[in-house]
Amino acid sequence: MSTSTTAATTVRPLPALRPNRRLKVPKQAERTLRNGLTVIAVRRSAVPLVELRLWMPFGRAHLARGAMLAQTMLAGTQAHSATEIAAELQKVGGGLTAGLDPDRLMLSGAGLVTGLDRMLELLAEVLTGANYPADWVETERDRLVDRIQVAQSQPSHLARTALLKRMYGRHPYAVQTPDPDQVRAVRPAALRRLHAERVHPAGAVLVVVGDVQPERALDAAEQALAGWRGDGHVAELPPAPPLEPGPLLLVDRPGSVQSSLRLALPAVPRTHPDHAALQLANLIFGGYFSSRWVENIREDKGYTYGPHSLVEHSVAGSVLIAGAEVATEVTAAALVETSYELGRLATVPPKADELEQARQYALGTLQLGMSTQAGLASLTSAYAGSGLRLDFLAEHAARLAAATVDDVAEVAARYLAPARAITVVLGDAERVADSLATLTPVRTESA
């Protein structure tokens, strides 16, 4: 046995793939309760567990109060303290967490399937009776402030913050992390008010996935949650503004040993006719490991560890974000290669085999994403947030299968041209500003 250090000739052929299995959407059922809550139940019986996702529209909420509401929603009710709620959930192998983004408030959890009824009961208790006890709110306020402070020392967070601000201007999406002083000002009464105003079943979607009979799970959800009332305030988000390219924004973080490179490019919602082709164009550019960008700046040049690009969907709009952490000394060089790869894809059609590879990846990862309870629950919930159901998967798969080289070239020209990008670089300005300025106009601010 010798380790080959010279180019070997292929003596063993790569085995062909067997035919693709058809995408099979699992058994599901749906019901809208009289209080306006939509419940979707999906069966996947592989493990004796169940996953819950409750999606509540929460756009335009006060940032600090919204964040504190998510942080303290499970902190107590008339009947149970926070510790008791956690212990009751634990008894059935369960847990719940609350999270917030600019579109929605989400309660998610998982537990033993034998505990489904109990988890739903506790969920209902929190939704109808969370009482935001003062001592708990105080503790959680300090914790949230500390967490924000830690986040603000992370380059990825700072780069994201700067990019959002640059992209969205005055839109509510522009700032997604509250200021510590705003958090310190939040009182329990404000949380109770926000809860009464915004935590209601109208427009909310509960997803239940697991070792359940879907109709039986709907019954259980109806039994537990029919008493949840309220259809108060709904806040519509204005559409996100179009991206406005301009000078590169350099955010100074003195002493950084890497630069965080971020680009935002236009994209379209899941239902748009261009979406499937744009998803494929994104994969070819930088959306998976076998993409041009990764092969260039990682595998050829060693500038970075994990470059990645992704189409992000929000209620008010979609956007393509590309990000890489690159060594300080190659910051400008990495940007050159990034613009080159975007420009090349926007002006020269991809090769047929490149498209085929991206297509197989997109179709395969749909299968993989559906193959676990947690994956199905997250997918179902994300789709429901865009007004879609799981059967959209089949439609989307058909569009991915049908997209041609010309389709992909056309969307790449429309969306991926480097001139359309908003570019933000976070790093040590003293070391990178001059070389960046030789490429493009630069505006510098401090982190």
């Binding site: 212990a87 192998g93 595998e299 299968q367």
Partner: protein, 436 residues
């Protein structure tokens, strides 16, 4: 109201084992519930096997295993996996290195071909080596050097707790060691550790056992036989006096601390080890757990808290010596000594007064959920079974873990808590250097 004990459920994943003539051990676990498969190859070599002067080498070598192989050019591996609709990765642990992919089931033979090809021989070229040294340096910058709490505590606690090079050194490696690595080092490392006899292949998901066996024979059968190297004994004596260490993290805005105590041998004394795995969860799993209730809510002396066995967080993939770790982040000006003293106090209280009604049962129910959830993904199943086969010759243990965790008794948890004495503890404190 009497506490009703949730019945701990189990899985019944079928397990087929075989060994090829070249010594490669194989585990198959079919499951037709979704048209996907997981493929894992685990080599019995990890950070602890690195020679002195070659810190970070096991991980660097993991990168080199993706850089082309006997019949494949650089980049081909990635393209063939993803072009079949799959995803892939590899990871380096203290006691093993794994390579894995999860794909639609129609790509089974392709995945086997790819893994067999690099088991026969990766393309170890100077160009690929230099390129991947650069990539690894960026990985270290992004995960350790350019962010607060980088490497805390998995890189910063072992050198406090252990004295020997295998257990104490930096597994990500120093830039000096990485830069001086040679192709000859890599070839030697491959010959020594990446032997068919030192590896386990596991395939899970939508497979037919007979067909999969034929394909495995076809692709791996002629990988040249090489025996597993003798695994050295990494044992070190337990601590008898407390060890403390402190360092300033220039980027960290707030203080943090981690403490650890040695635990029984996970392999040879599994029954003695399991209570510690449960104890870590009793102490730290969620708002109803002991230390969260005390330190976060009552005392407000920490803002977040975690506890687990094994430096990388998975208690069922480590060999001796290993530890139970607790780690906490503190508010501004927080008092690390006080936090450690309170932990000692709570451990004493647990050892003396025992658990509260239902405390153990609910913790075990939650642990069962975590175990079952991880195995719902075919890849999670393949990886765990591969490691259980390699370290214990017992891949079917995966089906038993929820029940075994559920069988740990209150007396065992109390006894485990009683051993976590300050004089056996190693701890590391992060001093915030990044406050603004």
């Amino acid at each position: 109201m009497p506490t009703r004990r949730a019945k701990i459920p189990a899985t019944k994943y079928p397990v087929e084992r075989l060994t090829l003539d070249n010594g490669l051990r194989v585990v198959l676990t079919p499951d037709r519930s979704a048209p996907v498969i997981g493929v894992a190859v685990v080599y019995d070599v990890g950070i602890r096997s690195e020679p002195e002067g070659r810190t970070g080498f096991a991980h660097l070598f993991e990168h080199l295993m993706f850089q082309g192989s006997e019949n494949l050019e650089k980049l081909a591996h990635f393209r063939h996996v993803q072009g079949a609709g799959g995803t892939f990765n590899g990871s380096t642990h203290l006691d093993y290195t794994d390579y894995f992919e999860t794909l639609p089931a129609n790509a089974l033979e392709r995945a086997l071909f790819l893994e067999a090809d690099r088991m026969r021989g990766p393309r170890l070229t100077e160009e690929n080596l230099r390129n991947q040294v650069d990539v690894v340096k960026e990985e270290i910058r992004v995960n350790v050097l350019n962010r607060p709490y980088g490497g805390f505590p998995w890189l910063t606690l072992p050198p406090v707790m252990f004295d020997t090079f295998p257990n104490a050194h930096d597994g990500y490696g120093s830039f000096v060691d990485l830069e001086s690595a040679t192709v000859a080092d890599a070839a030697d490392f491959f010959r020594r550790y990446y032997a068919s006899g030192n590896a386990v292949l596991a395939v899970s998901g939508d497979i037919d056992v007979a067909e999969a066996t034929t394909l495995i024979e076809r692709h791996f059968g002629d990988v040249p036989a090489r025996p597993a190297p003798e695994r050295p004994d990494f044992a070190e004596p337990d601590l008898t006096t407390e060890r403390r260490s402190t360092y300033t993290d220039a980027l960290a805005p707030l203080p943090a601390v981690a403490g650890a105590w040695r635990v029984p041998d996970p392999i040879s004394d599994f029954a003695g080890y399991l209570p510690y795995v449960v104890l870590a969860e009793v102490l730290t799993d969620g708002d109803a757990s002991r230390l969260v209730e005390r330190l976060v809510q009552r005392d407000r002396s920490v803002t977040s808290l975690g506890g687990y066995v094994g430096f990388m967080g998975d208690p069922f993939d480590v060999r001796d010596p290993t530890a139970l770790l607790l780690q906490a982040h503190l508010p501004p000006g927080g008092d690390v000594d006080k936090v450690l003293r309170t932990i000692d106090e709570e451990l004493d209280r647990l050892a003396t007064d025992g658990l509260t009604e239902g405390e153990l049962a609910r913790t075990q129910a939650r642990m069962a959920t975590h175990l079952l959830r991880d195995t719902d993904a075919v890849l999670g199943r393949a990886l765990r079974m591969a490691v259980l086969e390699q370290q214990r010759g017992e891949p079917g243990l995966l089906n038993e873990l929820p029940r075994l965790v559920g069988a740990v008794t209150e007396d065992q948890v109390r006894a485990a808590a009683a051993t976590l004495r300050p004089e056996r503890r190693a701890s590391v404190e992060v001093v915030a250097g990044g406050a603004r």
